[in-house]
């Protein structure tokens, strides 16, 4: 048996009040793609941060090529051949691609030579990228390429990837996998963190599964079913959202010739968007982030106003109404950014419930706030959506991502919307919470609410939506029934990989 590249034995890391990793062990062989699986809060991030030198373990043994390995800082980990692509891209928007890459290197060459090396590496691995462009102008897929190339220039022995595919189109995922397979064939090991199980089955050679900071098993992904892996992660049988067949009512929302200029410097203009939504129907809108998702939500929620007739509710023009007036008409929305857009981070859950519920739940009268009614509403959201929090007076920021997401979605669902617009309803939420949110949306539709679900997660859209359309550079494709649609067609609807083929590597 060959010596493993990296081995962790009994690694423990505790934070005040919570043990993030409890005697975790992990072994990665040279040239192996190793999956690290687990729900949110299972301790995956803490574990890789220890390998990368961002966090120091309390106890336990880490060995690299058989020698003890205790990186004090990322610099040292990089010097020892460990590179990491972060989940939330650690890029600098105002700087160029080459400058961003130079910042991640120990001894960067002169800018001109670096640009040359970036070009050659990007060609070798099929990741086209122009070193002179400003990162703020790049798509999510291109930004990820910047991070990957930054890592590849260090010629790493171990590449850590934290949820790399959550923002990519299927074609971009295919390109990424080609790159990773090529790296593996050159002997580079990859530690791959994801909770997309089908991807792990297609790519990974081995896996380690964490739950609540402990090892709960390992398996060969190709030989294990996705369902079995999910149940290992969750620790119990998984409930798949049930979808009842239902009849659609009359048309509720009609969007007609909707165009809007980009509201921000790095935003996207909406161009001539058309669709209609019937009562009880769920329309799923896919597409790579940054193609007009935020803007579409803004024109439907009323944050951006347009020509009155562009947006019609039951035939009445509402395009020029602001968010409060639309809320009064039961057009509700839940934006993607939980902290700062959907919820005010430093305000309590009661206050956050008040912020969107005031109109429909009568939480204010004559300019005065009805605190007890607001508290009651917040309590109802917490109870019905199983939000785990000590109470209604905790701040939104103190909740974990999944719990806050349940609160934000539940707050809108309980206001009995006629139209509900959600953007990324299960972004960064673990499997059990995601299933609960999806089920809530399906139940709401069954009662006759028309739902527009914008999401990057195609599996989610396939699971809950009745029709599918894709946003690409601010244009919306014609909606098509979800039944019978395959991944290939969806990829083409999403604008493919921006006119780029899978490179021949």
């Amino acid at each position: 048996m060959t010596e493993p590249l990296l081995s962790l034995t009994g690694v423990t890391k505790a934070y005040p009040g919570v043990v993030a990793n409890d005697k975790v062990s992990l072994v990665i062989q040279p040239g192996e793609v190793h999956a690290l699986l687990g729900e949110n809060g299972a301790g995956k991030s803490t574990l890789v941060k220890m390998i990368y030198g961002l966090v120091k373990p309390d106890s336990g043994d880490i060995r690299l090529n058989g020698a003890p390995f205790k990186p004090a800082e990322p610099r040292q980990a990089r010097a020892d051949g460990i590179a990491m692509v972060f989940q939330h891209f650690s890029l600098f928007d105002a700087l160029s691609v080459a400058e961003n890459i130079a910042l991640g290197m120990e001894n960067p060459p002169k800018m001109r030579d670096l640009a040359k090396r970036i070009r050659s590496v990007s060609e070798t691995y099929g990741l086209p990228l122009d070193p002179a462009r400003t990162v703020g102008d790049l798509s999510a897929g291109e930004r990820q390429r910047v991070e990957i190339i930054r890592c590849l220039l260090q010629e790493p022995k171990l590449l850590i990837m934290d949820e790399p595919t959550s923002v990519l189109t299927p074609q971009e995922v295919e390109i990424l996998f080609e790159t990773l397979r090529k790296l593996r064939s050159e002997g580079t090991s990859i530690l791959y963190i994801s909770h997309k199980l089908e991807e792990i089955r297609a790519l990974c050679d081995a896996s380690t599964i964490l739950r609540l900071g402990k090892n709960v098993g390992s398996c060969i992904p190709a030989e294990t079913s996705a369902r079995d892996m999910a149940e290992l992660m969750v620790g119990s049988a998984l409930k798949t959202p049930e979808r009842r067949t239902r009849d659609f009512g009359p048309e509720a929302l009609r969007v007609h010739n909707l165009s809007a200029a980009a509201p921000a410097e790095f935003g996207t203009a909406l161009k001539n968007i058309q669709f209609s939504l019937r009562k009880g129907e769920i329309l799923g809108i896919g597409g790579v982030a940054g193609n007009g998702q935020d803007e579409l939500l803004a024109v439907l929620s009323g944050e951006m106003t347009t020509d009155p007739n562009s947006v019609q509710l039951d035939g009445a023009p509402i395009g020029d109404l602001g968010p409060t007036k639309r809320r009064a008409l039961a057009v509700l929305s839940a934006p993607e950014e939980r902290l700062g857009h959907a919820a005010a981070p430093d305000m309590s859950l009661t206050e956050n419930a008040m912020l969107t519920g005031a109109v429909r739940e009568n939480l204010a009268a004559g300019g005065f706030l009805k605190w007890s009614a607001a508290r009651g509403f917040a309590e109802r959201v917490i109870k019905e959506f199983d939000v785990r929090t000590p109470g209604t007076e905790n701040t939104a920021r103190s909740l974990s991502g999944g719990n806050l997401q349940k609160f934000v979605i539940g707050r809108e669902v309980l206001q009995r919307p006629e139209i509900l617009v959600v953007n990324q309803p299960t972004w960064g939420v673990d499997a059990a919470a995601a299933a609960a949110i999806r089920q809530a949306l399906l139940d709401l539709a069954a009662e006759g609410t028309a739902i527009l679900c914008i999401s990057q997660d195609l599996d989610e859209l396939m699971e809950i939506s009745d029709a599918f359309a894709a946003l690409n550079e601010g244009r919306l494709s014609a909606p098509r029934p979800t039944a019978g649609l395959d991944v290939e067609e969806i990829g083409l609807m999403m604008g493919g990989s921006h006119g780029m083929d899978v490179a021949h590597v």
């Binding site: 030198g53 961002l54 800082e73 990322p74 610099r75 990089r78 972060f86 891209f89 650690s90 890029l91 600098f92 928007d93 105002a94 700087l95 400058e99 130079a102 910042l103 991640g104 960067p108 410097e265």
Partner: protein
């Protein structure tokens, strides 16, 4: 009125002198803001530099030593800001305002026995041929060394930000401190160094007022120059050369309106007195209409324990 009384050579020479304190303070603050820190204490650090430099020069008889001590005093006062904002993570706006108020008060206390004293003069640089050139000589080549230092510093800071790795790291910290931290850069250490640099520059600028521009000590003598420097950094879109342009423009209009007042132009003094502020802001607003924007992490508190 008699416009012929205005000597263009003296006018241009004195505008350079009037611009130098603003330029020094603005360049320091520019570096601080590029690192993502908003220090509103420029005025306070300037006046501490002004009294520290003045007192040292009077006691030791050496203006040069005065400038060195002024820079050290400005940096020392900025350490208070470092402690508040980088160690105990206090709000930067409030801390900066406190620094200004504290500096004004402390300088008044320290300077009580120096009112009315004349400081030793700093020798002007005399270059063999250049200083004797007609017209150009008195304008460009007969100033004190600190004035040239200010221009050289602007060039050095511009080149450092644009061409060196240190400058790139500084900009990166100001752009996205979380990402810089994730890459293993010492965000807090880099910011502390930038704040100290900004303090030293402000101290120098203050001493330039009390030792060369005026030269004497009066309470509150910086008279809002620190605030002008702060505004200049924003309107100059965080570009050193524009800060130089803005400082010279402001200095120029200030000197010009004083000359016009002396020449008895029939414009009310109040309008003349406000003209430097109006014209400088107007020109820089027009210049800053391009795409450049503030460092993204400006004024945000960095918390590493994630």
């Amino acid at each position: 009125m008699d416009l012929s009384a205005i000597n263009p050579v003296l006018l241009i020479a004195s505008l350079m002198v009037a611009a130098t304190p603003i330029l020094l303070a603005a360049i320091g603050e520019l570096v601080v803001e590029k690192a993502g820190v908003l220090n509103l204490g420029v005025e306070g650090m300037m006046i501490i530099g002004a009294i520290a430099g003045f007192a040292t020069a009077v006691e030791s008889g050496s203006p040069t030593l005065g400038f060195v001590v002024a820079a050290a005093a400005g940096a020392a006062l900025s350490l208070l800001f470092v402690f508040l904002t980088q160690v105990v993570l206090a709000n930067q706006v409030a801390s900066g305002l406190a620094l200004t108020l504290f500096g004004l008060g402390l300088s008044a206390l320290l300077g009580q026995s120096y009112v009315g004293v004349r400081p030793p003069e700093m020798a002007q640089i005399q270059l063999p041929v250049l200083s004797d050139l007609p017209f150009v000589g008195p304008i460009l080549f007969s100033h004190d060394p600190v004035l040239y230092f200010g221009i050289a510093l602007t060039a050095a800071v511009g080149a450092m930000l644009k061409f060196t790795r240190g400058g790139l790291i500084l900009r990166a910290v100001g752009e996205n401190h979380d990402a810089a931290h994730a890459l293993g850069y010492k965000v807090v250490r880099i910011r502390i160094l930038a704040i100290l640099f900004g303090g030293a520059c402000a101290g120098l600028g203050g001493a330039y007022i009390s030792l060369i521009r005026v030269p004497q000590w009066t309470e509150g003598m910086t008279a809002g120059i620190g605030w002008i420097a702060l505004a200049l950094v924003v309107f100059a879109s965080w570009k050193p050369w524009r800060a130089l342009l803005g400082a010279y423009l402001f200095g120029g209009v200030t000197v010009m309106q004083l000359n016009l007042q002396a020449a008895g132009v029939a414009i009310p003094v109040e309008y003349l007195a406000m003209s430097p502020y109006l014209i400088t802001i107007l020109v820089l607003v027009i210049l800053s209409a391009d795409k450049s924007r503030a460092p993204a992490a400006l004024g945000r508190i960095f918390h590493a324990s994630r």
